[in-house]
Symmetry: C2
Subunit: 450 residues, 2 copies
Amino acid sequence: MLPTEVLATYVVDSEFDALPIDVVIEAKRALLNYLGCALGGSIESALSIAITTLAPFSGKPTACVLGRSERFDALHAALLNGIGSHVHEYDDTTPKNYVHPSVPVASALFAYASANLVSGKDFVHAFILGFEVESRIADSVYPAHYEAGWHITSTAGVFGAAAAIGRLLKLDKRQMVWAFGLAATQSAGIREMFGSMAKSFQPGRAAQNGYTAALLAQADFTAGEKALEGPRGFAEVTTGVFDASKITSGLGTDFSLRVNAYKPYACGLVVHPTIDGCSRLHTQYQPDPATITAVRLRVTPLVLDLCNQRELKRALQSKYSIYHAAAIGLVRGKGGLQEFTQAAVDDPALTRIRALTTAIPDSSITADQVHIEVDLVSGKTLTLFVEQSLGNLLNPLSDVQIEDKFRDQAVLALPPAVVEQLIQICWSIDTMVDVGTLCRVTAPHEAGIN
Amino acid sequence: MLPTEVLATYVVDSEFDALPIDVVIEAKRALLNYLGCALGGSIESALSIAITTLAPFSGKPTACVLGRSERFDALHAALLNGIGSHVHEYDDTTPKNYVHPSVPVASALFAYASANLVSGKDFVHAFILGFEVESRIADSVYPAHYEAGWHITSTAGVFGAAAAIGRLLKLDKRQMVWAFGLAATQSAGIREMFGSMAKSFQPGRAAQNGYTAALLAQADFTAGEKALEGPRGFAEVTTGVFDASKITSGLGTDFSLRVNAYKPYACGLVVHPTIDGCSRLHTQYQPDPATITAVRLRVTPLVLDLCNQRELKRALQSKYSIYHAAAIGLVRGKGGLQEFTQAAVDDPALTRIRALTTAIPDSSITADQVHIEVDLVSGKTLTLFVEQSLGNLLNPLSDVQIEDKFRDQAVLALPPAVVEQLIQICWSIDTMVDVGTLCRVTAPHEAGIN
């Protein structure tokens, strides 16, 4: 069988009881982390603009947008969930391929589950399958695909959403192959949009498009059968490189959820070591920011490729600035949502530190690391080498840290009691009779399970 | 100014009265040809499946799908117009870049005009601008982009739809730049899907996505400002090659509508010379198909890259078969819609000729040409060299031939009197007060202007 068919067969035939228990547990950590991001992003202007603009085009309001009281059709809800959950750049990442894997899959699934009866077991199963499909497709073209400038979260994510929704729709193998073809047809998203609202639109559209692909395939809307490996298929056209073994090897035994990481900071992953290290210096030495005269960073080269923005016109751009990362760590000792607002961008103390920070690429530094030197007016220099940044696979967030991260974001949208209730629901999502209940609890005007 | 901004400025500032009259006339030929294709495709199963599947997700039914009585929101109507008008592969082509330019732009525009009051003058103006934008963007990356396997009609078409709708929405320059960014974000479609329903879905989605891009930009949903030329922008990411002069040179004086061609045959353009030549042999010699023992073709190499399908499982695949092209020309002397149905695929006479036809690539043969040899059981060989295939730029369809092509398709959906009425309306579309009137006339149950 060709890789596309192998993957389709796996998704169609997979059985929940054959899933390793640690993978199910990690899925619940990912879903709690995802849901926190969706609630934290639910009040952002990118989402509000999209809601206002697209409301006249929504079908019957059968589905929830997480953290919002408005109702939409399920396809629009998938898009809007994706915008809200990705807008803060706070969602999860598999460092092996730089995919933010949960957003495209979970955004579609929560939209679906809010409009259709889905058990927690089926929901978690579909999530694991969608996560695995997008991860394997990303692996098969990484790193060339990402380096070419594709936003791999959306280009691979559309397949994950198609797989997850296709599984819930009970597609047969032939239809699942078509769903992957229709996903490939819609696979899009470029890194040029980073630092604008269009960035979070991309994984949202991937969720909506994958969902649409599954619906059309269910109705026997045909597509080419070699979506991944065909001579004009996804891999060849977008990348020119394809490692089919990454699709097929260890399928059913190796799971990408085991190498998923949760961000402690609300911004691009590659600046995390800098925030981590600068925050440690802040905590240890408590330097008065006014006494800092220079900050010198040695960073992995990708940092300057992605995050070399010093002039910040929009708040979103601050998430892609290595200079801002150093500033918030040294001045505030943290990198939560409040460190990437317009107020933070305009903060004179942060502006001053950004201006006196320099970063040079060093290929001996890994993506988990940074070397920091901070000169003080006293003539003293603070030095730190970060070996393993907080939140990466060797230094992961604990369940309690994920809960705390959830609280920090969710309280922006919901009363504390509902926030605590949602944490408890999430940890037992796999036992729910109807996941739609959870979705409805996230609506601000509905304070309890209804 | 960078190319993206140059193009946005042009679209925002263009004045109808500065358009050359021949370009306006050619726009009307293109629109009549487009509308015929939309009506001919309006009863196809690809469209019917999409309508049935997506109806539950449609917003308020304010917009028409051409040739159908159902109503949808305008974004869905754009998608569905695109599927219907492209499904027969009978729409127009600019041979310089293999784009089918009218479908993405006109599908969005007719959807918009059926739900919003638009004058014929504004409509034609927006069509010309959208056509020009997608053509120039395609030119800037052609041929590498197409050769890589992109379905250039949809990847470039999304920009055309964004420009056309953006113009009608009166976007300012900054918003138009964002609309192009949001179009780039959604630019997708691969040639692996050729020969399946997913093919016509691609330009339909481009129409819908471009329309969406314009709506979001109007609401100040931000995007990156270097959609085309940025280091991670459309050209670099999809192609790695970008000729910026194709975007900017002759803007406002050179128009791609002047090099638009209308297909006389309902299939991929590259097999047209073969249908044309074989039809001429059919007319001239009237050979009994049973007496044909071998058909040898020498074709431009791209033909075998695109149309080397001999085993035809689906009717749509017949549009990509050089062997089927030879068969319908020799046996039936034409290549209308009826030559690409399942009945045609299963026709024993056509099946027999397909099996005994061979084609070899010859780089001395252009895309307008073919060399044909037909062996007869008598020992005689019929030979023909086609220098300029019917319908190409040096041998274009006349207005009367475009009208005849319109009639052949439109009668599948509408009574003859309405068909004639639509032809008259189309030729004076630039004087209409409300183009929505035209859209509503195409609905089967509405027999006159309402």
